[in-house]
């Protein structure tokens, strides 16, 4: 059953009563309007020893991801140098909300991006965020305790894995072929960069709105559903060319990233990852249409993402390919 506030309040109370083994009342439940891949609810209960909780409910395959890998990653990362919310429950059983979901503690701070309206403040936050990105990429996968997730041998192997993953989503969710994307897939396969740096943790969706800020500090990185262990140039290009545009144009952001990353940023490799990320965004966006059309999620934003969003990223993929090859 898609989102209905009163129903969700009862469902959340029922789940928490079950999970905590005692009667729980939900005092407040609000849905965050941001975030496309999960129905995200912030829940305050009548339990004095429980912090506010964040429920992230799958939406029938929106953006082609599931909760389990994200939850396992949070388990591995929590308490380490990369700040994340404390994971509480991963529930595959659809009896509670109709879809699998995960619950974390709510981290104190603000996950919104109202600061973007204040350019000076936004630039300060941008610098803080970029420092935290550098910190994320500085640690080896072993240092972060990620052995159990399966660390690829090198960045070539991880890149091929990522390509297969996103191509698979495109094939599963598309209605018709998109020749420009088919061309891009073939090009991306033929031009995988040679391994030049170690495999690192990629967030996969670095963005304003995907970190919690409190008193000028990054308290947690959230929304890890596109995370992977791979070439950190993926994160660099994704932020600079896609979501970082909320802060400003790519070049100054790339300059800031050069200050914090331990590897060289530029050349054909950067081009490759720029194109890869547009392709990835197109594949993620097309996933929303079937989810909407099959009634698994009737959020009308699904249509905007699956049409305008998909077409826009397809075009950017094709144009960036041509700029790269000019």
């Amino acid at each position: 059953m898609p989102y209905q506030p009163e129903v969700r309040r009862e469902e959340a109370a029922a789940f928490l009563t079950h999970a905590l083994g005692k009667p729980v009342r939900v005092e407040e439940l609000r849905r965050l309007a941001s975030g496309q891949s999960r129905e995200t609810l912030v829940v305050r209960t009548d339990q004095p020893d429980e912090p506010e909780l964040v429920f992230r409910i799958e939406q029938g395959g929106v953006l082609g991801t599931s909760s389990e890998p994200e939850f396992k990653l949070l388990q591995a990362l929590h308490g380490g140098p990369v700040p994340v919310p404390r994971p509480r429950w991963l529930v595959e059983d659809p009896q509670w909300f109709g879809y699998p979901f995960m619950v974390t503690d709510r981290v104190e701070g603000d996950g919104g991006f109202g600061y973007l309206a204040e350019p000076e403040k936004a630039q300060t936050i941008l610098r803080t965020y970029i420092e935290s990105i550098g910190e994320m990429h500085r640690h080896s996968c072993e240092e972060l305790g990620l052995h159990a997730l399966g660390i690829p041998r090198d960045t070539r192997e991880s890149t091929l894995q990522q390509l297969e993953l996103w191509e698979g989503r495109y094939e599963r969710y598309r209605y018709v072929r998109e020749p420009l994307l088919d061309e891009a897939i073939a090009w991306l396969r033929r031009n995988v960069p040679e391994p030049k740096r170690p495999v690192r943790l990629n967030h996969g969706d670095l963005s304003a709105g995907n970190f919690i800020l409190h008193e000028g500090r990054i308290m947690a990185h959230v929304d890890w559903e596109w995370s992977n262990l791979g070439d950190p140039m993926e994160d660099v290009a994704f932020f600079a060319y896609i979501k970082g545009r909320m802060f400003g144009p790519p070049e100054p952001i790339l300059d800031l990233l050069r200050e914090v990353e331990a590897f060289e940023i530029g050349g054909e490799e950067l081009r490759y990852w720029e194109i890869f990320n547009y392709f990835k965004a197109a594949c993620a966006n097309i996933a929303t249409l079937k989810v909407f059309n099959e009634g698994r999620n009737y959020g009308l934003n699904m249509v905007a993402i699956g049409t305008g969003g998909f077409l826009g990223f397809t075009r950017r993929t094709a144009e960036a390919l041509r700029e790269a090859t000019a």
Partner: protein, 155 residues
């Protein structure tokens, strides 16, 4: 018969924008109301627009396929047969088949020789511009559905 489908849709949109959206309490409900208004705007006249749009796109794709096949020579791919009639369903089926054929042509071009970092098969085949035009026309067709709400646009 009056009101027509489009007049009914416009009436629903007016009520949605003037009566319902202002009453919605949560951010989520307001976002959905705004999306619904955009969608109703898109739906007005779509039944009349879509067949001509698809026929036009198919003509462009047929042209692109002919150009690609001329460049491919002996490796030319099969041109999909025309389905009977010009119904919306037939147009959609042909559209899907043409897209399949053009993707096959792109792969066939890759199979013809060496390609470096700076080479693209759609460019070599001379069809890249047409494919980008098709993409732009699609984006136009889906207007005004998008990520932001431009405000009320009464008929």
């Amino acid at each position: 018969m009056r009101p027509t489908t489009d007049e009914l849709i416009a009436g629903m949109r007016n009520v949605l924008e003037d009566v319902l959206i202002p009453e919605l309490q949560s951010d989520w409900a307001q976002a959905m109301g705004a999306q619904m208004a955009l969608m109703l705007q898109h739906v007005e006249g779509r039944a009349e627009r879509e067949p001509g749009f698809l026929a036009g796109e198919n003509a462009k794709l047929e042209g692109a396929l002919a150009t690609a096949n001329a460049a491919l020579g002996a490796d030319a791919v099969a041109v999909p047969a025309r389905a009977g009639g010009e119904t919306l369903e037939a147009l959609r089926e042909r559209n899907a088949a043409l897209r399949e054929a053009i993707s096959a042509a792109i792969h066939a071009a890759y199979g013809q020789g060496e390609y470096g970092f700076g080479d693209l098969p759609a460019d070599r085949l001379g069809i890249a511009e047409t494919l980008l035009e098709v993409n732009a026309a699609q984006a136009q067709f889906w207007q005004p559905i998008g990520f932001s709400y431009p405000g009320r646009q009464r008929r």
